[in-house]
């Protein structure tokens, strides 16, 4: 390995390959097993890559295909702290999602699984790419399969909802494209191995060396932020999210909320803050204020949500808002907290979606008001959900606690008031989560929930894995934190 093929390449090409294979699979179980098999292999690879973080394995973790062109971009992919963690999250999320996808729930499944894997490839690319143009490529490519998945297999209002989502993100990323171009035109000249040279370059390290005045940074910041803010989403760019989560098939919702929203945060970490440290400094208060408004706002709406999926969607908005806020607190504690929390949030929310999907499948409704007393019909399901929910409200010894603790600490160090106000969110989170548990699971079962049966062994297994992860990281988060140390330090270095 190493000299032949590198981790990032494997991470990108394998799912792509698998996806294309899946398209030609005739039977469902064939397609599904291919998908699961490949995603498990990928998980293995990604897990292995966690043990090769050391600098001396650089040519295992980074590759830079040069091909002659006159705009100076190369196929430059590499794994660094954040990217490694998020690729691992992606690699971890997909097997779980695919396993949780119950049989023949989607018509013509082969293309369904194919598209799923394609989106995985796109995500991997986003997290690996070290070249702005490449990054933009993958940024869009991750979107397209998801668009098709949502509007093909979603609920009845899927087309409008998904299209709203698409236009939102597409517009945002086009603005980012302009920003990329502008920065590109200010990068120094680049000389290639073969003697040819380009006037500018898209490579990350060249972008870091771009000559940008403070004035430029101030508006470039917003061009980039538009794309990331929509993706996260930050208040007030969030209205696509609840509808989309509600309408799209749950497997896709898991991808969206578990992994895809991290793209926005990742973008901020990898591109926004390092490229425009001055502007980031300057606008940090504005962004944090927005994010905190988002936290309170989303939590309040979650209080009165009757639709289970929308409730989770809004709670996710609140969580992302917190991450965004503490990203812009810009100290190492908050950075590492965010990086840790991105991973945790991915796991928790996927678990939450699995359970909610099960409930919807078993009862056929997703309105809290119609559900009641599932607890004594399906105790295991209940326990699982309660654990997920508690992780969602960051109870100690669940994985979310260390992350949120660090984030709040960082935010508080940046400015006590932000920390304090943002922390109100944890109360609201407790309120709506417990209300949801009470309404759905406690009390006496009604006509709808009478026939509910408990979950199968297989589902127990899948959820069990997630629960184990939750507690594992909750009790001993340090290894994950260490993984992101270098990245955070480097980031701090850029901002200073």
């Amino acid at each position: 390995m190493g000299s032949y093929i590198t981790f990032p390449e494997l991470l990108i090409w394998l799912p792509l390959l698998a996806g294309i294979i899946c398209f030609f699979a005739k039977k469902e179980h064939a397609a599904k097993s291919i998908a699961i098999l490949f995603s498990l292999i990928l998980l293995g690879i990604s897990a292995t890559s966690l043990f090769y973080t050391d600098a001396k394995y650089i040519n295992w973790n980074a590759v830079n295909y040069f091909y002659p062109n006159n705009i100076g971009n190369t196929f430059y992919v590499a794994l660094d702290g954040t990217g490694r963690l998020l690729t691992f999250l992606t690699a971890l999320a997909f097997p779980i999602i695919l396993l949780a996808t119950s049989k023949n729930s989607y018509k013509n499944p082969s293309s369904f699984y194919g598209l799923m894997l394609l989106s995985q490839a796109g995500l991997m690319g986003v997290f690996c790419s070290m070249d702005a143009l490449l990054f933009y490529f993958f940024w869009e490519l991750a979107l397209i399969p998801v668009y098709f998945l949502c509007s093909r297999w979603g609920g009845e209002k899927r087309i409008q909802a998904t299209f709203k989502f698409f236009v939102y993100t597409f517009g945002g990323s086009l603005l980012m494209l302009i920003g990329i171009i502008y920065v590109y035109l200010h990068t120094p000249e680049r000389f290639f191995e073969d003697g040819t040279h380009a006037a500018h370059s898209f490579a990350l390290n060249y972008f870091y060396r771009a000559q940008l005045s403070a004035g430029d940074q101030n508006w470039l910041f917003w061009l980039f932020f538009a794309a990331f803010a929509v993706k996260m989403p930050v208040f007030p760019f969030h209205t696509w999210q609840p509808d989309t989560y509600d309408q799209s098939p749950t497997s896709v919702t898991m991808v969206l909320s578990g992994v895809m929203v991290k793209m926005g945060l990742f973008g901020v970490i990898r591109w926004l803050i390092p490229l425009f440290p001055l502007a980031a400094e300057r606008y940090s208060h504005l962004v944090i204020t927005l994010a905190i408004i988002g936290i309170i706002y989303a939590s309040c709406i979650a209080l009165v949500q009757d639709n289970l999926k929308k409730l989770v969607a809004y709670s996710s908005i609140a969580h992302i808002g917190l991450m965004c806020a503490s990203l812009f607190a810009m100290n190492q504690i908050s950075f590492q907290g965010v990086m840790l929390q991105m991973f945790n949030h991915g796991i928790n929310i996927i678990g939450l979606w699995i359970v909610i999907d099960l409930i919807e499948k078993k009862t056929g409704v997703k309105n809290i008001s119609q559900l009641s007393g599932i607890a004594h019909k399906a105790p295991v399901l209940t326990i699982m959900l309660v654990i997920m929910a508690l992780a969602n409200i960051a109870l100690p010894l669940t994985n979310a606690f260390p992350g949120e603790f660090l984030m709040f600490t960082g935010l508080y160090m940046f400015n006590p008031w932000y920390g304090a106000i943002a922390a109100v969110g944890i109360i609201l989170a407790a309120v709506y989560t417990l209300k949801m548990i009470q309404r759905v699971f406690y009390g006496d079962s009604n006509a709808i929930t009478d026939q509910v049966t408990d979950i199968s062994f297989f589902q127990k297994l899948v959820l069990g894995i997630i629960v184990c992860l939750i507690f594992l990281i909750g009790v001993y988060p340090q290894p994950v934190i260490d993984l992101t140390k270098d990245a955070a330090v480097a980031l701090i270095g850029r901002t200073k």
């Binding site: 091909y67 002659p68 062109n69 006159n70 705009i71 933009y136 490529f137 869009e140 490519l141 397209i144 098709f148 509007s151 093909r152 899927r158 087309i159 299209f163 698409f166 236009v167 597409f170 517009g171 086009l174 603005l175 494209l177 302009i178 171009i181 502008y182 590109y184 035109l185």
Partner: protein
């Protein structure tokens, strides 16, 4: 030069073939042969500088790798056009060979307007390009729409020709050394004389008309809608991009030094074109008409080349020519197979014709400008150019916002293809869809994707 001569000659060949060949299918193969030859000789000229006849053109036509490469692109697209829609040309009317002959003459005009070096040849090129189109537009004699379109096109076309000639006259009068050579108008770097301004302005108007840029675009929807679909496909792609190339060539060589003086005109035209094209396209129900408006919208993006007028923009224009033409030709080729041109006609295409559905999606994504398609690369180059140019930055923002809006109507078709249930009656296709046709579609799609991944294979030619 080779392309000009051979296409003219081959037009005559086609014309006479009508006398000897009675079969309806043979002319297509003859035309394919011809276009292949033209591509070949043009390529030879590009690589080796080899000429069919070495005549002294008195510098009235100037060939360099750049415009030869463009001719190669145009001819290549024409070849794809023949391969995809050749069989549909036969469906239009009895005079198949004549249709092909006209197309060849039009290609001759394309070649001229890509290489002209004097206003005379600009004029001739544009005319040679357009007059066959008037005829082709009206070639469906029984169809009133076709007639109407032809008349409208003709009247307004000649009108714009008049404007253009007036402009040329003013330029001639305005230049101190009476000359029609575009690079010899000797426009100083100072303020332009009123005559020059007037002349240039009238040229802008007439060229904008040819490339259907607002507010001179009004003929476009009607003509594209009325003309036989197969010819709409031709005139909305190859001819239009040729017009753009001529536009760019003229203004770069003659008024390039005064760019800052007339850039605001281009800004006005660009923005209004983007606005009208995109906004009006949204509400269209007929896909054919929608594509007409989308061609206007794309024109707005191509105008960025004139707005920027730098190296990247020039490359971008050629890329755009290829990307836009291929995608549109492909779409029209699929559209012809439909028996109703409304968007509902596409409902559930994916279930009946997966290959068509897939390729159509690729074409639409390319037109929208999604990465990995040629469409993205061309837009990307345009944007680089436009940003590099530095003035009127807001135009770029407007452009991308409209690019986002354009997704709205392109994706309506995609939604129809994939997410809507097919209409009950299964006979939604007039003509059978042959295997070669599918293969060609896939080939086109592949080409688009390849260009999207590695556009340098086209750009490389420009600096051969």
């Amino acid at each position: 030069m080779n392309a000009i001569i051979l296409s003219a000659v081959w037009g005559i060949v086609m014309m006479f073939s009508a006398v000897f060949i009675k079969s309806k299918t043979v002319p297509k193969y003859l035309a394919l042969l011809g276009i292949g030859l033209i591509f070949l000789v043009n390529a030879l000229e590009l690589y080796k500088g080899w000429l069919i006849i070495d005549m002294n053109v008195k510098d009235m036509i100037r060939t360099n790798s750049f415009n030869l490469a463009f001719i190669a692109v145009a001819v290549g697209c024409t070849a794809f056009y023949f391969l995809l829609s050749g069989r549909d040309v036969e469906k239009v009317g009895p005079h198949v060979a004549e249709y092909f002959a006209l197309i060849f003459f039009s290609v001759c005009g394309v070649a001229i307007s890509a290489t002209f070096n004097t206003l005379l040849f600009l004029f001739l090129g544009i005319e040679i390009m357009s007059i066959p189109l008037y005829i082709l537009t009206g070639s469906e004699k029984g169809n009133l729409k076709s007639n109407e379109a032809a008349l409208k096109y003709f009247l307004m076309g000649t009108f714009s020709t008049g404007i253009m000639l007036m402009g040329i006259a003013f330029l001639y009068g305005g230049t101190p050394n009476a000359s029609f050579f575009i690079n010899n108008l000797q426009i100083g770097t100072g303020q332009m004389t009123p005559m020059i301004v007037t002349g240039m302005l009238m040229l802008i108007v007439s060229m904008s008309f040819k490339v259907s840029a607002a507010p001179f675009h009004f003929w476009t929807p009607d003509v594209y809608d009325g003309a036989p679909t197969v010819f709409t496909s031709f005139m909305s792609t190859i001819v239009k991009v040729a017009g753009f190339f001529a536009f760019l060539r003229l203004f770069e060589n003659s008024f390039g030094s005064m760019h800052s003086h007339w850039q605001k005109l281009i800004v006005f035209i660009t923005v209004s074109t983007l606005l009208i094209g995109n906004i009006t396209a949204i509400f269209q129900q007929s896909v054919k008409r929608m594509l007409a408006y989308s061609s206007i919208a794309q024109a707005g993006f191509m105008l960025l080349a004139l707005f920027a007028m730098n190296e990247k923009a020039r490359e971008g224009l050629v890329l755009y020519a290829a990307a836009y033409s291929l995608a549109t030709i492909g779409l029209f080729a699929i559209l012809i197979k439909m028996n109703d041109f409304t968007i509902e006609g596409f409902n559930g295409l994916s279930q009946r014709q997966p290959i068509l559905a897939f390729t159509a999606t690729v074409f639409l994504l390319s037109l929208t400008g999604i990465p990995l398609t040629a469409g993205f690369q061309s837009k990307f180059y345009m944007l680089i150019g436009a940003v590099e140019n530095g003035h009127h930055f807001w135009v770029v923002i407007v452009a991308v916002i409209f690019a986002a809006i354009s997704a709205y109507y392109y994706f309506r078709i995609i939604q129809a293809i994939y997410f809507k249930e097919p209409a009950k009656e299964e006979v939604s296709f007039v003509w059978d869809i042959t295997i070669p046709f599918k293969i060609m579609l896939v080939l086109t799609a592949v080409l688009i994707v390849v260009t999207g991944i590695y556009p340098e294979w086209i750009i490389g030619w420009l600096y051969f």
